[in-house]
Amino acid sequence: MSDGEIAQKMSKGLREISVAEFFEKNRHLLGFDNPSKALLTVIKEAVDNSLDACEDAGILPEVTVRITQKSEDRFKIVVQDNGPGIIKEKIPRVFGKLLYGSKFYKLCQSRGQQGIGISAAVLYSQLTTGKPVIIRSRISKNKVPHEFHLRIDTTKNEPHIVKDVKYEGSFPDHGIYIEMEIEGSFKRGKRSVDEYIKQTALANPSSKISYRNPYKEKFYYPRIINQLPRKAKSIKPHPFGVELGVFERMAKGTHARSIAGFMSTDFSRVGLDTAKKICRIAKVNPSTPSHALGHAELEKIWRNLQKAKLMKPPLDCLSPISHAVLEKAVLKDTKAEFVASITRPPSVYRGNPFGIEVCIGYGGELPNEKSADIIRIANRVPLIHEASACAITKAIKDVDWRHYRVEHNNGVPTGPILILVHMYSTWIPYTSEGKEAIDAYPEISKEIKLAVQDCGRKLARFLAGKRKRQMEKKRHSLFEKYIPELAISLENLSGEKKQKIISDLQKVIKKPVVEGV
């Protein structure tokens, strides 16, 4: 057999794989690895989109989620929002084409990051039930809502419109309605949709969320503040967070006319002088058009760029929930007798600005006799799975809770405690595409730990005070019991009236510290 023949034979097996196949093979990466997780992921993608759309349009979000069980493993999911809606022409691509979105080349703190979200849910629905999804959209009071029935043409990764009509039923002034049928399973407990909705409400206190689960239980989470969070600004990437491959791709696609111009306009914190200096060190003419440079030259420039002394990326592009608002949300949800919170000043890991907020609640309706409730939130999205792989859980376990006089089990505090940690960043480093656990970069772990410790100290002070008050109460009740007895003895001894002695003693007991003198 000659060399050529083998290659010929092997190339017969090579063909373009469809998105459906890609999806099938990678569903675990996308959050669809098992029926209960798939159900959660579908809802998560839809709700994330709704909240993002509302915030982008400056509308206080109102989201309704309904899950109906059709058969043992089939569920109908409906998500409705009051967002700006999507114009008729764009709807098929937004919902019917994978990797289509506005967020892919922009660095901005936002919920989704890859644009794989909602169309993956549509594809999953189609693959498991064969039914088209129903999308209704209305962009203004003056326009009639539109209804699409969509499929994805899996060989071409293009939307296929099954039905395209005006929707005659009642519909809010603006917003999106999405209805899908999927195969799934509804689980209760810590990783349930119930829990996800609850945590979403906590992380998004300016939204109103109504939710009905398959057991027809209704939950309503009212709005806690009537103000949207500050809008996050988009920034250009900082060189320290850009890998060589991405750098090369950006160099090829830039509008800048020279390599120096490219560096100074397409990145944060690179001035034209710095860019020229880097070119000189890399022995490349700064005015060479970047698309004319080869791999070796680009790599040399990239390496020197990584070593350059650059300012930190701008930090004011981020938008925290704000610790005061978190406290309000936690109080409302748990009726905690104590809350403490902190928003740490933003910091940087690998050129990406990020911030950490922590809120700790104690007591109230929080369950005793078990480990603390850890709520992990990344860019306002609750993380439900893979808790133990997450930087947040690791940092909490790393705190020595004995310092704060809190019992712990395996590093996780026990008792009626809730620990909410929010990481917000232009880029959240997930450990996998499932976007469920934050990668433990040292800078991130350190910030989380500092924030948790800060709240831990406040909790310790509260607990010390609480113990003291309990002791004081116990002391008082002990003295209250003995006061009449002492009065009886002293009446017998001195002839003074018992009632007078009792009332005098009760005045002494009121004095704050009577131990000792």
Binding site: R475, L478, F479, K481, Y482, P484, E485, L486, I488, S489, L490, N492, L493, S494, G495, E496, I501, D504, L505, K507, V508, I509, K511, V514, E515, G516, V517
Partner: protein
């Protein structure tokens, strides 16, 4: 009004005044422990030091004892007013009651009321007898002595096999006739009965007295009065072990818990007649040695370190002899040398030879 009653009322009024001034009511109680005991080498007796502890009502650790003490004071005042006496046990029941609406008793055990009464003695400076609270009578005496008690004339030589039962309060006894040269006090009733049967008090012209274990206060007061008023030497006869030595020590120097009353209780001239470590050799008692237990060894070290034994070479030698023997001997062991060995040989020999320890 008696002084004692005035002191009790004064105690109550002081507390009421503090309460009226919105102060945390308190009382200073001398500390009754070894740390606050001094040995006075001149008077040859234990004395209470000047350390006091201030006890507060509004203090979780004090409140219970505080109320027990005021309650004991109220009971004593009631007894004085009614001119009645109660025993320690009866006083315990008088003080004991449950605080309404709780499961707290003012006292749960007699030990607590006993301590409250001892504190009250220290606070008022009045002995228990003057508070009309008595211990159980526990002790017998025989000898050629005639006394008068509550109008009755009693001859200690004509009271059959039991002898006279010593009451807890002997302050009002009148001695009509005392015909004796010394007193033998022993820790065991059994030995007393044997000696009484042998009428040793007639043979040696002495008084024999006992109580069970540590001498009760009534017995000690009776010894003290006879020693002081009739100059009768007191000889102490105890088991050969550290516990026996301490019984002797209490009679001679006073006790740690009643150090404040040493003046009226201690008899510095008292001597130990036996059993000594040398007796063991001399009277062939070695075969009756009962091996020391850990607690006995510990007690020897404790007792030998008390200030009033520490500086006495002969006593240090005695303790070392005991340690060498490694065991204790009971008085009853002397019976193995003959039924009346103690009254016919042991005691007469010792007294004749002045074989006594100081």
């Amino acid at each position: 009004m008696s002084d004692t009653k005035k002191k009790l009322i004064g105690f109550g009024k002081t507390l009421v005044k503090q309460i009226g001034e919105k102060k945390n009511p308190h009382v200073d109680v001398p500390i009754r422990s070894l740390s606050n005991i001094n040995f006075n080498p001149k008077k040859k007796m234990l004395e209470m030091g000047s350390n006091t502890s201030r006890r507060f009502f509004f203090n979780v650790a004090h409140v219970r004892k505080f109320v027990q003490t005021t309650e004991a004071a109220a009971v004593a005042k009631e007894l004085l007013e009614a001119d009645k006496h109660l025993s320690l046990r009866q006083t315990f029941y008088k003080i004991k009651r449950t605080i309404p609406g709780t499961n707290i008793n003012i006292v749960d055990e007699q030990q607590e009321s006993n301590e409250a009464i001892e504190d009250l003695e220290l606070i008022t400076g009045e002995p228990r007898e003057k508070l009309n609270i008595n211990a159980n009578k526990n002790g017998s005496v025989a000898g050629k002595v005639i006394i008068e008690d509550r109008g009755d004339t009693i001859d200690w030589s004509r009271l059959g096999s039991g002898g006279w039962a010593i009451p807890s309060n002997v302050e009002n006894i009148k001695f009509k006739k005392v015909n004796a040269k010394f007193i033998i006090y022993m820790e065991k009733a059994a030995e007393w009965e044997t000696l009484h049967e042998d009428k040793i008090w007639n043979k040696l012209n002495c008084i024999i007295m006992c109580s069970q274990g540590q001498a009760t206060r009534g017995v000690r007061r009776l010894l003290k009065r006879l020693n002081e008023e009739f100059k009768l030497p007191v000889y102490v006869l105890v088991d050969g072990d550290p516990w026996g030595v301490y019984i002797y020590s209490v009679i001679k120097y006073g006790s740690i818990s009643l150090a404040h009353m040493s003046d009226s209780l201690a008899i510095p001239s008292a001597r130990l007649i036996g059993l000594t470590a040398t007796d063991v050799e001399k009277y062939g008692l070695k075969r009756h040695l009962i091996k020391f237990k850990e607690i006995d060894k510990k007690r020897i070290n404790q007792v030998s370190n008390y200030a009033w034994f520490r500086d006495k070479p002969e006593w240090q030698k005695e303790f070392n002899r005991w340690k060498k023997l490694g065991g204790k001997v009971e008085l009853a062991a002397l019976t193995s040398n003959g039924l009346s060995f103690m009254s016919e040989h042991y005691l007469p020999d010792k007294i004749r030879k002045k074989d006594l320890m100081d």
